[in-house]
């Protein structure tokens, strides 16, 4: 009988100990989760401050023009021949004239096209020890135009003419993604300051594939965003474009981060 009582008492003790242990563990988990939540909010706050303005915010208009899309060129032609190594490719000066000639077959150079870049493309043999390009094998000369509507740039994949030229000015590839516009009306826009707040909260029209931590903004401008050429985009409405590079990045070309400017 005494032995039975002892066993029952032991069971009670173990039951109580188990309850205490479970309570301690559950409490710790709740406390840890609570602290984690707080820690995440703290990091969020601090990381938002890590987007740095290297310039002053520009003066902000109350309204900006919106445009209707009235027509579209959607051309993409490319050939594996473009990858082949060529004996010669056009110089950058020659390439601009040749590109305009090529474009005649594709509706010509639009009035709102602005030359963005001309460059000779080559396969490069690179020595990993010395860090030197030892040899180059020419492939094509690339001529790229972007759209600029009355001083306001259009960014995105759907506003570009990109032509690759090979030997004797042969067109190796052409991409013409262009929407023709007609003025619609003036629309109210948020200030650059409000747009910067949106940027800090990650409210972008398109998400970049890099963290925004350490981003330095070097230029801010009102413009437009053109969707992929297959998209049936009906209008161009204003966006604030924040051009930036990451702190310490070796990329000299600032990348555009678009924020919807519509009020």
């Amino acid at each position: 009988m005494d032995v039975l009582m002892e066993v029952i008492t032991m069971k009670k003790v173990w039951f109580i100990v188990s309850i205490i242990l479970i309570s301690v563990i559950t409490g710790s988990i709740i406390l840890w989760t609570y602290q984690s939540d707080n820690r995440i909010s703290y990091v969020t706050q601090s990381s938002q401050e890590q987007i740095v303005l290297d310039i002053n915010l520009p003066a902000s208009p109350i309204t900006a023009p919106a445009y209707k899309v009235i027509a579209k060129d959607s051309i993409f032609e490319d050939s594996p021949k473009s990858m082949e190594i060529k004996k010669n490719i056009p110089s950058e000066t020659e390439a601009i004239l040749l590109a305009e000639e090529v474009l005649k077959k594709y509706g010509g150079l639009p009035d709102d096209a602005v030359l963005l870049k001309v460059e000779q493309v080559a396969i490069k043999k690179y020595n990993l020890t010395s860090g030197i390009v030892e040899e180059q094998y020419p492939q094509w000369t690339q001529v790229i135009y972007e759209q600029n509507v009355r001083g306001m740039p259009v960014i995105g994949p759907g506003a570009e003419i990109n032509i690759g030229l090979g030997e004797n000015g042969e067109a190796l590839f052409i991409e013409k993604a262009w929407r023709y516009l007609e003025y619609d009306n003036e629309v109210p826009v948020i200030s650059a300051e409000q747009a910067f707040e949106k940027l800090k909260h990650g409210e972008l029209l398109v998400t970049p594939q890099s963290s925004l931590i350490g981003l330095h903004i070097t230029k801010i401008q009102l413009g437009y965003y053109a969707e992929q050429r297959e998209q049936d985009q009906k209008s161009y409405t204003p966006v604030w474009i924040f051009y930036g590079t990451h702190e310490g990045s070796t990329n000299t070309q600032a990348f555009p981060y678009p924020v919807n400017a519509m009020k």
Partner: protein, 245 residues
């Protein structure tokens, strides 16, 4: 007698099943990080599922099998073949596709993991380590190939396809890339060029890094055309190509 008939019938059925199952000669692997602990909130990436589905759909359709798919908190160095023994990560599959954030810090570029900046992949972790079955690694992330020293990872692997600038997520990219490779049997280098030109605008620069010039010019996806030999001996040079999209 009945038992014998049953056993024979069973064996025939097993044999028929084995014969009719398509032999998957090639394998791919994938890693994807779309959720990040350290925001701003916009740093979470859209389209991770679509991108995985596109890669999977094209490759399984061509008879490939998925070796592994790790995502978000489960992505770590070992998936990128950082070990020389045991689990070899991407080394164990012909092609690896990674989707996520990349960043350039003072010229050193990193593949960001979920708890970046606490953990990330840098080139030193995979120096001369991409070998075994692997031939190609796609880094669908910002800026990683801005540093050409990633080419040092190519021990016997052939090439790395990626970007030297910022970019944005787009499921059209793998869709167009694998369409070129599988439907049109185009080369790896050209398919990447065509897919990136078609998908992005002039603010994005795509780059490929290969161990030999012939691999850059003539490698096809395994099963879709010729694949050039591995580099031998290792001459510590790479061939790269880049273009504005």
């Amino acid at each position: 007698m009945k038992l014998r008939i049953l056993v024979i019938t069973g064996l025939i059925l097993v044999l028929l099943t084995v014969i009719t199952i398509p032999v998957s000669a090639y394998e791919y692997s994938m890693t994807s990080v779309s959720v990040y602990n350290n925001p701003p909130p916009g740093s979470a990436l859209p389209y991770a599922n679509e991108i995985h589905n596109n890669v999977q759909s094209w490759l399984t359709g061509a008879g490939w099998t998925q070796r592994f798919y790790e995502f978000n908190p489960y992505v770590e160095d070992t998936d990128f073949g950082s070990q020389n023994s045991g689990y070899q990560g991407l080394d164990e599959a012909d092609l690896h596709y990674h989707f996520g954030h990349g960043i350039n810090v003072n010229g050193e570029t990193r593949v960001e993991y979920q708890d970046y900046p606490n953990s990330y992949l840098e080139r030193g972790e995979v120096y001369k380590k991409w070998d075994l079955t692997n031939k190609w690694v796609v880094l669908d992330a910002c800026e990683v190939l801005a540093n050409l020293q990633w080419g040092s990872a190519l021990k016997t692997s052939h090439g790395i396809l990626g970007f030297s600038t910022e970019k944005t997520p787009d499921p059209n990219l793998p869709d167009r890339f694998f369409r070129e490779l599988i439907t049109y049997d185009d080369t790896i280098g050209y398919s990447w060029k065509r897919a990136t030109l078609d998908t992005y605008g002039g603010s994005v620069t795509a780059r490929v890094v290969f161990d030999t010039q012939n691999q850059l010019l003539y490698d096809h996806l395994s099963g879709q055309g010729t694949v050039q030999p591995n580099e031998n001996p290792d001459d510590n040079t790479i061939y790269y190509d880049e273009w504005t999209c």
